[in-house]
């Protein structure tokens, strides 16, 4: 995330510290917050998780219907997700709306601006973005200490995975986002980065979009050594669809029975648990590198 020095006297180092209450979001919009917000609406499960992780759950007054972690987040009032309900948001009288870039409609944002509700847009494209978002939200909400601590701890876990898998071969992996038709993750998607970071090779690395419909011929040609299915309560690939993959008997992954499941919430949400997702990916791809550690 871009971080700019703010204020007209930006050049003077001491002034930078005097105007710390202006924030620039991922759409390059500036918002000024005179004091730390106390009524926050989160429009993404990942943002909700960040707020809980840095200890700002008290200030959270509205969430989406998919905000299910930590479990107590379910108890907060719901405002919708892909089509947030403006009236419910208004009724909560928020002094800050935190929204993801996905599903964000220009008219919705314009309406919020018109109603003078500050909106801050988060668009996590990389793991680094997630860390920087956590720190930004920490500064914004007066939780810098815990946010920086969390980010540092996450960064350390990422480094450890990198060092453990750095010298190992990179097995070919197919991530089955959707089975019928086959949709997978390509470069530009979050999960693709996790696969690479965890020391694997995404067989759809040559695709030109983030979520390509992959040709089955390409799968057979690339011959994945592992097939990973996301699973979850409300999404994920049902067992029967996973069984359908057994028919491709020539695939190395099928021959060796290397089918794995991963909680989609851990890898899809650009929040604090992304490191857990990364660790699970690394354990799936390189079980040999984690033999000394007990499974979480």
């Amino acid at each position: 995330m871009k971080r700019r020095q703010q204020g007209i006297l930006t050049g003077m180092p001491f002034m930078a510290n005097l105007a710390p209450r202006t924030f620039v979001d991922d759409l390059d919009r500036k918002i000024y917050l005179a004091k730390a917000p106390i009524r926050i609406v989160s429009l993404a499960p990942s943002i909700t998780e960040v707020l809980y992780a840095i200890g700002s759950s008290e200030e959270l007054v509205g969430v989406t219907q998919y905000c299910d972690y930590p479990p107590e987040a379910r108890l907060k009032p719901k405002v919708g997700y892909t089509h947030p309900n403006l009236e419910s948001i208004m009724a909560l009288q928020p002094d800050l709306v935190l929204a993801p870039r996905e599903f964000l409609r220009a008219d919705f944002l314009g309406k919020l601006e018109q109603l003078k509700i500050p909106a801050f847009i988060l668009d996590a494209k990389t793991i680094e973005d997630v860390l920087s978002h956590i720190q930004t939200l920490g500064r914004m909400l007066g939780r810098s200490a815990s946010a920086d601590g969390l980010a540092a701890q996450m960064r350390q876990r990422i480094t450890e995975i990198k060092t453990r898998t750095a010298t190992l071969p990179h097995p070919r992996l197919l991530y089955v986002l959707n089975s019928e038709p086959l949709i997978t993750v390509g470069p530009g998607s979050f999960i693709h980065q996790l696969i690479v970071l965890a020391g694997g090779t995404n067989i759809a690395r040559r695709a030109r979009s983030a979520y390509p419909r992959l040709n089955m011929e390409e799968v057979l040609k690339e011959d994945p050594e592992l097939i990973v299915f996301p699973v979850g309560l409300v999404e994920g690939i049902p067992e029967s669809e996973q069984q359908v993959w057994q028919r491709w008997t020539t695939l190395s992954a099928v021959k060796r029975g290397r089918f794995f499941r991963i909680s989609s919430d851990l890898v899809n949400r650009p929040g604090p648990r992304i490191v857990e997702g990364l660790e699970i990916f690394a354990r799936i791809i390189h079980p040999e590198a984690f033999e000394d550690k007990i499974k979480p």
């Binding site: 996905e102 038709p181 419909r213 089955m216 409300v234």
Partner: protein, 385 residues
Amino acid sequence: MGILGGQRRFEGSGEGALPHGDVGTRVAAAEGTPRAEQSVLTSRRWVTTMLTLAGASLLVMIASLRFGTEEIGFVDSARILFGALRYGETGIDSLGPSSVILLQVRLPRVLLGFMVGSCLAAVGVGLQALLRNPLADPYVLGISSGAALGAAVAMLVGFGKTVLALSAISFCAFLGGLSSLIVVYRIALSYGHLPIHTLLLAGVILNAIFSALIMFITSTMNPNRSFGMMSWLMGTLAAPDYPALIVLTVYLFVGGLILFMQTRALNILTLGEESARSLGVEVERVKKTVFFTSALLSGAVVSVSGLIGFVGMVIPHAVRMMIGPDHRLLLPASALVGGIFLLAADTAARTLLAPAEIPVGVITALAGGPFFIYLLMSRKGGLAR
């Protein structure tokens, strides 16, 4: 449509005692079509046209087998195919990746694409004649959206096993199509008759209701999952395994044959129900047969391929412009042309952005639409006379 224009002239001319088979051709002749070969359907012309199209189909199939993420030359393809025929499917594993790609993915997909295209076009011909509406296509009766709804529910619930070699989604889609068939039929049926207008309207309304339900399901689904569902609905030709392909081939072939057996009656039916009745056609029986067959066929097609627009509506028109309105030739010829068209479109869909794919419905509309506009412009008045 030319048929309707001819109808009035025909009714006025009072040639009521024609043998059934000749009516359609006489109508065409009555229009004064400049091309003589379009107006009279001789068995020789039938055979030549069909043989030409069958030859073209075979060529397109062979060409389609060549293209894909992995180029497999004709010689290699032939060797792999004959090898598989001789040693059976069991020997595949030892044959290396390109034979697996060819035999397990490309060939079944090519066959499925051809069948789906054929079926859509044939059903389109049948329904355009039955409903006497140039806008009719296999999706007009509401069966397809019923099937799509079935698929959506299957994906929402996420349950299932393979049934009759079909995947759970396909099976639920077929069930959905079947139930909406019954609903449309019950709505439209009045005193043992099947009025065309009620049938059409019932289909349209059911389409609207089912589409709304699908949108509702999509909106409540987690966005990550609904993405997959929308992709399925956009039209998907997956590679079926051979048992499923055989079940489907038999099913579609029988259905197509039943439709073909009605073509004589459909020719007469285009004159209007009264005229057809006075010519000795059991109008209600024909209508019901065509309705049920079309519905069962389109339900099955949607259940294996999602919603592939355009083929079913436009191919019949294009073929009619080229070979004339006689359904005895129009239906089987459209079936072959539809198969060729969808096959070509699907080959483009899986190669243009390889290794990614484009939904095949996008290609059918983008490639077929302008071509059809060209046909319309170049033969202005030919369709809307």
